[in-house]
Amino acid sequence: MTRIPTMYAHQRALDAMAQRRSALNGDQLQLSTGKRVNDPSDDPLAAAQAERLRSQLARISIENRMIGFARQMLSTADSTLGQVSDALQFAREELVSAGNGGRSSADRALIAQQLSGVRDQLVSLANSRDGAGGYVFGGQGATTAPFDASSGQPVAPAPAPTAQGSHPGEQYTGLDAKYTTSQDGRAIFADAAGNTLFAALDTIVGVLGDANASAADVSAALSTATDALDAGLERVLMARTRAGEQLRAIDAHETALANGDLDARERLSDLVDLDYAAAISNFQNNRTSLEAAMTTYAQIARLSLFDYL
């Protein structure tokens, strides 16, 4: 038969209760933080994995920030190019109307005036700001407007070309994939030989405004200008297509990132977040045990042979 020494019996009962209480404290900490893993030692594997997932989420947010910026830039470029395209269409219609045989020199002067307005509008569109301190068509390194407002010539020194691709003057962002954040205005508003649309308009405005110009001169100038505008429209369309393609790619990329984000969050939650049902059940178990230990201890401790002597 085992002898149970009195002091030891008390000590052991107290130790057992202290253990239960510490378990209850642990449950309470989990319930109050909502986390299963509060210290790395609670589950080292999960803690390391959670840290990796946190970093992965941070990277996804960096990527999102980058492509968000690209989207903003590309949308601005797209809508500006839309306006450029409208202006060029309008100018082209004016040119057709100027070529009408019945036009008097006064009529042509009026058209010249309108074309001159289109030319100013195009220069201001080409020099659009991107809302982030730069220029939509500035290309890389642009801190000043890409075109001179009065002459319509590219501002010297020409923006330096960057890496990537065949379109010098473009800037890129993104980690997994790269997106353009700037368009090179020279590739849109000027042809390969460097003749700008503004110059073409200036020329035709000059000819149409000249009351002494011969019909043949006018006709030849109109034809040259129409060709220039058509080529310009084509370049604008190309640029818009490129921007649109990239915007579509960004949409797909964003969806993928959102999925990755959701996935990482779910895994993170599985790793460190608390299963409340299990935690509450644990808490109840430990509480019942502590109560039982207290009740029985109080009853047993009260028993003593001395009471009967």
Binding site: T2, R3, I4, P5, T6, M7, Y8, R12, D15, D39, P40, S41, D42, D43, P44, L45, A47, A48, Q49, A50, E51, R52, R54, S55, A58, R59, S61, I62, R65, M66, F69, A132, G133, G134, Q140, G141, A142, T143, P157, P159, A160, P161, T162, A163, Q164, G165, S166, P168, Q171, Y172, T173, L175, T181, S304, L305, F306, L309
Partner: protein, 533 residues
């Protein structure tokens, strides 16, 4: 009648002695280290008469304590083991909190720095974005410094504790030596000085809380003490002492040595074998040293990753990038070296472009800077559609055959071209004309720093696993200690119910013995009355 009186008296004395012992047990029921005592009786023998041997009563042989040498030894060694394990686990729990994970951690600081770099990639000309990078680099450096200085503080704390414990061990050894002397002095009486022995065992148990001590009993009643490594701690009444001083091989650390007379020998965690001193030493020399080493390595990797990229790039003014982080000579004196945002080498010194007069469908697929470049202006000219010639390289002209999609790597940069060139087409590598607006190198910093957060996560996992295993050891050795305590208490502990029963039992014996004396007296009275004439 004298015999009966004597027997009654011996029984009375015996019952009284046992009652005294029971009283002593009850009085010390809650004294730590007390061993239950009991009076040992034997018959006083008999005297021969013609009718046989007549008993002479009872003798008190001695008072002995309920004590098991082996159980006491087991209790001592499990105390040492449990004390070492719980000390180490408690300090590891503090250490793992120094390496906070989550948003306050070093990993998050790296990610924050990268987020700021991403803004520079988006708009390299924005001075605010560059300034944020400087701030974030500073925050990262600060977090690493904080973690390291907190670890250093934990090490100093452990050193202080070791020094205190060594002082306490010396006091206990002196006490033990004193008790040895007192015990051997009374040993000659032939009876065990139970309470002194308990006291000495209690001191031995306290010693084991600090270090593992092996006891070897001698014939003269003294006990000699040895450390786990066999070093003699105490012989008879002569005690050695622990001395704490700076470690000659590493003055930043404290070393404990054992001084025995004029001989001094250094003590390792192994020679302590257990106890809290071994726990602190193992924590300091293993866990803390390795974790600090891992942090220093991570800091070195961080510095190298960003500094290497800085060196490849050029800053906003076009000057070669300086280091982003500096590591001091002592430990992890990790500092941010960027003074202003314009010093961030976000740009590459060179860039690639197609020749202005190209006729073919040649396109630049990608351009990358992987190593140091001389930033020389270079022209790649296609002499045929399948061969090219690179002019302007520091090493002279290079020729190669062209395959669409293959990479041309020279002078630190690598270039991938696609499409078919026409003879005379050119690709130019030119110095970057506007480094203040280029964020390509910043982007490379972000992509190349990915392994850093991963190593931090590994560190968190490692310290977690270390702590978890220390906690498991603590639980296991605490269980063993509890078992040893239970086994010893079962033998030596006082049960008050038992003592209550003894009290009754020997009270009755006392009363009976008194009756024997009363009977002897009344017999004597009867005899007197019968003979009184």
């Amino acid at each position: 009648m004298a015999g009966l009186l004597g027997i009654g008296q011996s029984a009375l004395m015996a019952a009284y002695a046992q009652l005294q012992t029971t009283g002593h047990n009850i009085a010390n029921a809650n004294t730590p280290g007390y061993s239950r005592q009991e009076a040992v009786f034997a018959t006083a023998g008999g005297t021969y008469t013609g009718g046989g041997f007549l008993g002479m009563g009872v003798d008190l042989v001695t008072v002995q304590r309920s004590y098991d040498r082996f159980l006491a030894g087991e209790l001592a060694s499990s105390t040492a083991a449990s004390s070492a394990d719980s000390t180490r686990a408690a300090y590891l729990e503090r250490l793992q909190r120094v390496l906070a994970s989550g948003d306050d951690g070093i990993g998050a600081a790296i990610d924050d720095l990268n987020a700021a770099l991403a803004d520079v990639v988006n708009r390299a000309s924005d001075p605010t974005a560059r300034e944020v990078v400087v701030q974030r680099a500073d925050t990262l450096a600060q977090r690493i410094r904080n973690a390291d200085s907190q670890m250093a503080a934990l090490g100093r704390d452990a050193d202080d504790q070791i020094a205190n414990a060594a002082g306490r061990v010396n006091e206990l050894l002196t006490q033990f030596a004193g008790l040895n002397g007192r015990i051997s002095a009374v040993q000659a009486s032939g009876h065990a000085p139970n309470d002194l022995l308990d006291e000495r065992d209690r001191v031995l148990l306290q010693l084991n809380e600090y270090m593992k001590v092996t006891a070897l009993a001698q014939d003269d009643g003294t006990v000699n003490l040895f450390a786990a490594g066999g070093e003699g701690l105490l012989v008879g009444t002569r005690a050695a002492a622990l001395v704490v001083g700076a470690d000659p091989s590493d003055p930043s650390k404290q070393r404990v040595s054992l001084q025995n007379g004029t001989a001094t020998m250094p003590m390792s965690a192994d020679s302590f074998g257990g106890g809290s001193i071994a726990g602190w030493m193992n924590f300091r020399d293993q866990d803390l040293a390795q974790t600090r080493g891992a942090l220093a390595k991570l800091a070195g990797d961080i510095a190298q990753t960003y500094n290497d990229r800085q060196k490849l790039g050029v800053d906003a003014a076009g000057a070669a990038g300086k280091d982003m982080f500096a590591i001091g000579s002592s430990g992890v004196d990790f500092r941010s070296a960027l003074d202003s945002g314009s010093e961030l080498a976000a740009a590459w010194p060179v860039t690639a472009q197609l020749g202005a007069g190209n006729k073919g469908a040649l396109k630049i697929s990608s351009f990358d800077l992987a190593g140091a470049t001389s930033a020389s202006a270079v022209t790649i000219t296609f002499d045929t559609a399948a061969t090219y010639r690179i002019v302007g390289l520091p090493g002279g002209t290079v020729t190669g055959s062209y395959v669409s999609g293959a990479t041309i790597a020279q002078d630190g940069w690598s270039l991938t071209l696609r499409g078919t060139p026409v003879v005379g087409d050119e690709v130019e590598i030119v110095p970057n004309a506007s480094p203040g607006t280029d964020g390509r190198n910043a982007r490379a910093m972000i992509t190349e720093s990915a392994p850093l957060t991963d190593s931090f996560a590994t560190m968190v996992g490692e310290i977690g696993a270390r702590t978890q295993s220390a906690q498991a050891s603590r639980t296991a050795s605490a269980g063993l200690l509890s078992n040893a305590q239970a086994a010893q208490a079962e033998v030596s502990g006082v049960n008050l119910d038992e003592e209550a029963a003894r009290l009754m039992q020997y009270q009755q014996m006392y009363q009976a013995a008194a009756k024997v004396i009363q009977a002897a007296q009344s017999m004597f009275d009867s005899l007197l009355a019968a003979t009184a004439r």
